[in-house]
Amino acid sequence: MMDIKVLKPILGANDQRAQENRSLLEKNRIVAINFTASPGAGKTSLLLATIKALRDEFRIGVVEGDVSSAIDAETVAKEGIPVVQINTGGACHLDATMISNALESLPTEDLDVLLIENVGNLICPASFALGEHRNVLVASVPEGHDKPYKYPVMFSKSDAVVLNKIDLKPYIDFDQDKFTAAVQGLREKALIFPVSCKTGEGIDHWASWLRDQIRVEQSN
């Protein structure tokens, strides 16, 4: 028997495809944002609020990842935004090949921004690069302030954390200082945007940050 030293990342092929996506996006001057969250945190609501806030400035496209159903894509399509639904057929995350296929169905020459809604899950999406420029994690008040410690890898690679459903704070034991300490403990420079997609509170501040990030990437 012969022993072969390999020492190669198991997800190396995915990383390679993610790099190809990134090149394709940059060739078309598209900035891609990957949204991750637990199920029900409000990813789709945040996407809709973000589209509303930024659609006058940028041409936006959306990729919706779900294990099954096209409910989210239909909701976005009603806004007149180009959207591709990816049904992962059981897989709990999007991967770079799925994004590559989705890009073929989108009018890439006519887009400035691609918002990617990953599958609702904070474990598996952490392992699969897509080619995105920024990672945004959507957390919500009812999930509790200890969430960062349950999903440290995803939190540690997120550039921003949107804390949704702050209108529920009077009813829930949620310690925002503890949440902030946990998020910034795992990633020093992570920014936290408390919002309520229901009342619209905080959306301006969040959208203003995202606008700046898009402009930074566009000028690179």
Binding site: D3, L7, K8, L11, A91, H93, G185
Partner: protein, 113 residues
């Protein structure tokens, strides 16, 4: 919980490395997996057994080297193994911790004929 997708990537990598080395049979597959990847050894072994059928890796023995989660305190510089998923510095109590190990996911070596 994402073992099937991971195992498919493992099999692809195993077969491509085996083929580069003109192997006719893969006997051993040594994997290194960090504790923070959330990957369960038994589940990978189960899927591998199924999806490798009919390939030169069918029947290969998988072994797993698990890497514990580790962190480095940004305040006092202490490096430590994370126990019971407590992300606080055991020396100074700070919550400002950089993850330094536990995310590993690679194929270390193959035993082939």
């Amino acid at each position: 919980m994402h073992e099937l997708a991971i195992t498919e990537e493992i099999l692809n990598l195993v077969l491509s490395e085996a083929s580069k080395n003109n192997a006719v049979k893969v006997k051993d597959v040594k994997l290194v997996i960090g504790e923070m990847t959330g990957i369960v050894n038994e589940s990978v072994a189960f899927y591998f057994n199924e999806i490798s059928k009919g390939t030169i890796a069918e029947g290969a023995k998988l072994s797993f080297k698990r890497v514990p989660a580790a962190g480095k305190c940004r305040d006092c510089g202490h490096q430590f193994v994370v126990k019971d998923f407590i992300w606080a510095c055991p020396d100074c109590g700070s919550l400002n911790i950089d993850i330094t190990a536990g995310k590993e996911l690679y194929l270390e070596s193959l035993g082939v004929i």
